[in-house]
Symmetry: D2
Subunit: 345 residues, 4 copies
């Protein structure tokens, strides 16, 4: 029996429709309101025909949603509008539970935020309050949270693989290299020449080299885990596929010890699988699911290890982890609504 009323701000993007796909199978949730600005007034199934068999509310402008009857708000707005929108929402209804999928509340330090995003934060109180929702790592804080900042897709993939060995002091934190590869859906649904099929298929390249904004999330969380400043090298690349993030992480440290730390840390976690030592994960084995798969391989050079991690950027890297966070916030079983297996092939 669906007892929770959920609203989604920014439902006409890929993370919005992915939230609907997952929540439609969640037994405790009713999707009560969906917002979209330029698409306001259109049925959701007109924007996303694959949802036509669901009984969904019509898209409305964000300001036209009555939050009084809403229990949980997912926010999938673009960077920039999120801060004021969530401040207004929580001012209107302080008891609301919010999971924000933007980057706006991920950095706890106002100075870091200003440095990476080029302006002062517009809701500094909420920035302080927000919990970084890497569920497996910060579960205790998420459980009590009103505002969860859902982590970035690149960082979710890299941090789940790095935090346990870094926290255990098994890795030289001065020489970490994170080489990430992502499918195209992470770039969103706005019309840009560089995202056209003919520009992307049958090719590969790096982007944001030397300064991608997700770097700041790596800094924050690895510094927290290590207890000292950490500033890894991070390079993302675009893969001609829809879904999937793949992290190849190069560290100085003992590969066996790193593997043991990861395997122990995630032994009881339903969504993180650590492969047997020496095995390599593949992104296709998590496609469409909330799972993360992590492998550790020893380099031929003693004292060097390669950690490989993969997840679906729209599920565990965005909407799936957002639902997992909602479950954690509300005290539900975290796997509720998230048991779908990967679609392969």
């Amino acid at each position: 029996m669906a007892s929770l009323n959920v609203a989604i701000y920014g439902a006409s993007g890929y993370t919005g429709t992915e939230l609907v796909r997952l929540l439609a199978l969640h037994p405790d949730v009713r999707i009560t309101a969906l917002s979209a600005e330029s698409n306001a007034g259109r049925p959701m199934a007109e924007v996303f025909p694959q949802l036509s068999t669901l009984d969904l509310p019509t898209l409305v402008k964000m300001d036209d949603i009555d939050l009084s009857g809403i229990d949980v708000l997912f926010c999938a707005l673009p960077h920039g509008t999120t801060q004021t929108a969530l401040k207004a929402a929580l001012d209107t209804k302080p008891s609301l539970k919010v999971v924000d999928l933007s980057a706006d509340f991920r950095l706890a330090d106002p100075a870091e935020y200003a440095k990476w995003y080029g302006h002062e934060h517009l809701a500094p109180d909420l920035q302080t309050e927000a919990v970084y929702g890497l569920t497996e790592i910060h579960r205790d804080k998420v459980r009590g949270a009103r505002l969860v900042a859902n982590p970035g897709c690149h960082t979710s993939c890299g941090l789940l693989a790095l935090i346990p060995p870094v926290a255990a002091g098994l890795v030289d934190t001065d020489t970490i290299v994170i080489d990430n590869k992502t499918g195209m859906s992470g770039a969103g649904r706005s019309a840009k020449v560089g995202m056209l099929f003919s520009e992307v298929s049958e090719g590969f390249h790096a982007y944001g080299v030397g300064g991608h904004r997700h770097t700041s999330e790596f800094d924050q969380e690895l510094t927290l885990a290590a207890g000292r400043p950490v500033a890894p090298t991070f390079t993302p690349h675009l893969v001609p596929m829809n879904r999937g993030i793949y992290s190849t992480i190069y560290v100085s440290g003992d590969a066996r010890a790193i593997h043991t730390a990861l395997a122990d840390r995630y032994a009881a976690e339903p969504f993180v699988t650590v492969l047997p030592f020496g095995q390599v994960p593949e992104s296709r084995h998590v496609r469409g699911s909330n799972f993360t798969r992590i492998g550790v391989v020893a380099d031929r050079r003693t004292g060097r290890a390669i950690i490989l991690s993969t997840l679906d950027n729209l599920v565990k890297g965005a909407s799936g982890q957002a639902v997992q966070n909602m479950n954690a916030v509300l005290g539900l079983d975290e796997t509720t609504g998230l048991r779908q297996l990967a679609l392969f092939p």
Copy 2:
């Protein structure tokens, strides 16, 4: 509470793993046995790592499965071994319910079978008994069946679009053209040069032109629907994508009347959506789901219509429809375990 014990013959192919993906979320089913010949002895998760979070039986040889405790048998064996295997199974346990995903029991007429497959049928009694499991069309027979012959992927897609107007006499049955396009997973998981990524991606071509074996299924079912012999032209093509069948069907007939016949016929069906007149379905909107989407467009020439139909070849075109048939056979709600929405993008 899972009360039905299910076995899968031939679990190491794509339709086998797809059955596991779907059945894992089916509340009434326990996967009790999985067979594979060359892979016997291996854990299922070694063959299909995306299933590693499930608690599945190890693959065994077909003959090592004890059928006495099995309620439902799904058979995903290649053509040729199916007839003797199912005869043996049903001789051993006559009360078994069987859904067969091969082509072996789809043709009811022994002469037609011999003509298209080049040899006499090895289990003629079962051939007579088997029900052609296009669920929406033959539901009444499926409900009482012991042996269901799950339709081919090409034919499922084409027949769901054609049978209602043909049965209503709205189409000239002498001039039907069915131009089909399919993703690569329909070709299975055997190692063939023509199925390598580098041979398939960035290209398109027809195959089996003028005489694909699925043609015989079209003949049988359209003849049945029309009450007179029908022999359409059918051409399949390979699309560089994993999943999806798309039928573009050219008929002489009134487009509006055809649309009405389809919309009326499927109004209450949970898995078939008839789009508003003039709208065109897309295969991506059914990917990973058990849905079929059908559109009808009027040609500029009066009296000519184009019917477009799409489904996921591994779900509604194979394993999903097989689960739907199992549900129908057992009197369960047909949608049980099949409510997953399409994965998009």
Copy 3:
């Protein structure tokens, strides 16, 4: 020794860069001027980095090109601006040779143009003068032409396969069905949501069903070939690949006779290969080349044939045929600059 000065209007689209790719290896041509409106002022290699090893003129606005020194003008402007631009160019320099890649001059009949494009033609004199540049069919007229209207990609592929049997009276012209499939580059380089990688890959669908504008070219040329009105059914589809058009054509007629007509017609043509009877062409075998490959297969029903044809939409379907037309106009060997073989895989 490059003796011909060539200009390209609209060089920043896919057909523009493809013209540069081909002309760069043409021994008689010097690329003297390149225009682009919004990209004016930028080096061509900034817009298309793959051209960075060439010594190319900077992009300028069309009006800033001095046509007095230009021998040949390729026009790759979007529909709508072409008519006035070419009228102005030919008024300025009447001796100019022009190959136009837009749809603006393909229809000879002003009434047909107005019907399909919704407005009167803006350069009716040039419309009368223009020659439909399907080179193998209209070579005699192309040779004397000042203005060549390069055919559409869909129509090039379909017409090369259909005109010989239609002209020979081997086909029932009342029941022709042309089912076309095209790669994404045919849709151009403008930023539209429906052309994003994540919207297009792993999916398939028809578009423009019942009324695509290329239909009018089919009508004109098939009517001309048959000597009586012909109005085929034409349905284009989008394939998740960059390059390639594939036509599956259903006709009433004797397959052997059709094959003979095609094989005889193209025996001496360097760019058209008719496969042995019963063989099926594949788009990947023409990718990046100016070749067309055609096959004919008999349907199982007597008196029905399937003609299959394929070419690269950007080469033989656009820029390659444009260069071939330039060669024909100027009396050069038609294969000059066009001997590149298909890129496979």
Copy 4:
């Protein structure tokens, strides 16, 4: 006027057909003999239909080629048969010029060969004689060579980017990380499940982690350049595309100095483009061409640089570089037959 008679051993693989594609436009070359073992007796155009417009010799068994009239032999045999085949060929005709595309003669040190390939070399004299054909680096030796060992695709891409700064002492050679990504055609044309379209598309993963055989080529050439032992970390990954290698190389060193060293080193090279500082190359801009594109970006951490390099694995990474080597061996202009530009899109 084609004056050189060329034979290709192993013409039915991807590098074989790519050699034919390139040599068909080489003005000084006549393709006189093509070998293939299991395909012997078949016309080349039956194996590779895209070559049907060429006048090519029928495939014969290697032993049936009369080498007496052959000037240049390209060897594209699989590892294992190459050593005895080339020893026999050069014994038969000592004046033959050979470019070998296998890995068999790349390692100069017999001990290294035995270590990485698991057995003693079968033609040690030739191993000593062979020149490592990274043309831009070893041109002087290639020019006088009888036997050129064409480098691996992964190593060509990485070494062209690394050797200049390593040779100039600008890079800490103890901490080099080479993260490579390759298209599928590098895996060849043999039928393996892991290379099927449905196994590869829409996914990404590493392979050969910690011990890929190309590592030994990196060791040999970087050690030679540095004048001291170098053993980088090298990880290859599979990208769902046909063509392209992409190297992301992490080094300690001054990014500006590294960029200058690369730009200076390749200023006069026709096939290597060093991008302006801070720019990132894309594999699609070299597809189908013999070009390499290299970029250098500064990491945010002082003293760390990221070098990015890309080439087409079948052209500059195999058959194109082989033709370039032939040109160098014979004293021809190295660009002869290799001026084709990238195919984009």
